[in-house]
């Protein structure tokens, strides 16, 4: 247990920073969406073209741009909750609570959450990029980011199934007199 303690601490710090990052990012996107839609002209569309998609001649409406931002904000909030659950699991590890009841279920939630997030994030960029912002580069530009979360989710799902088996073995061991 002592050998993994420094690693757990560093994972815990990274998870906390990631949560903070996504909270601030979501907050800035909310402000951007409010300011962008309240100003009559296509300010929001111009910002999105610079920040998310490559510039094109097609100009979708401010309303569509706001929908895109809201979807991204929703996905970010979903990710924040999953990151919070992951840090909760790590905190349990840190105090030595390994293989407790429901632990594998929590891991499964985090793994599935990361997978859903990566899929929806990629799909959102792809759909809006292709159909509304006329930007086909979204196919490969957003792929590395989505793949990282997808693979991370799969690794966590494998860990959760190992954890579920370990929980059964631990229960049998605990109930052996």
């Amino acid at each position: 247990m002592n050998t993994i303690r420094p690693h757990l601490r560093s994972i815990s710090i990274v998870l906390s920073l990631a949560q903070l990052y996504f909270v601030f990012k979501s907050a800035s996107l909310v402000i951007l969406a409010i300011l962008g839609t309240s100003s009559g002209d296509e300010v929001l569309v111009d910002i999105l073209k610079n920040d998310f998609f490559t510039k094109s001649n097609d100009t979708p409406s401010n309303y569509l741009a706001a929908v895109f931002l809201l979807l991204i904000i929703g996905l970010n909030i979903f990710l924040i909750f999953r990151l919070w659950l992951a840090s909760k699991i790590i905190r349990k590890y840190q105090v030595g609570k390994l293989l407790t009841l429901g632990h594998s279920k929590d891991l499964e939630k985090v793994g599935k959450g990361f997978d859903y997030y990566s899929f929806l994030w990629y799909a959102t960029h792809l759909i809006f990029g292709t159909f509304f912002f006329n930007d086909l580069t979204a196919f490969y530009k957003t792929l590395p980011y989505a793949l990282i979360f997808f693979l991370l989710g799969k690794v966590i799902l494998i860990l959760s199934s190992i954890s579920a088996k370990a929980e059964i073995l631990k229960e049998e061991n605990d109930l052996t007199v």
Binding site: L175, T176, V177
Partner: protein, 68 residues
């Protein structure tokens, strides 16, 4: 479970308490309670040996098989 534990009966026959048996066998009262209530998943031979020695009985006196 089709395996039932008759430890309470054997203890009563020998006028012994669970606490005494736990001390003699070297297991916790909580573990002895798990065994008596039938929640145990397995019993170590060493534990069974110690119980038989402490209660002067055979494994068959403690364990019995019944059709479910």
């Amino acid at each position: 479970m089709p395996i039932i534990i008759n430890l309470d009966q054997v203890l009563a026959d020998r006028n012994k308490k669970s606490k005494e048996l736990a001390e003699m066998v070297g297991i916790t009262e909580a573990n002895l309670s798990i065994l008596k209530s039938g929640r145990a998943k397995a019993v170590r031979f060493s534990t069974l040996e110690a119980i038989c020695k402490a209660l002067d009985c055979q494994p068959g006196d403690i364990l019995a098989y019944t059709e479910e």
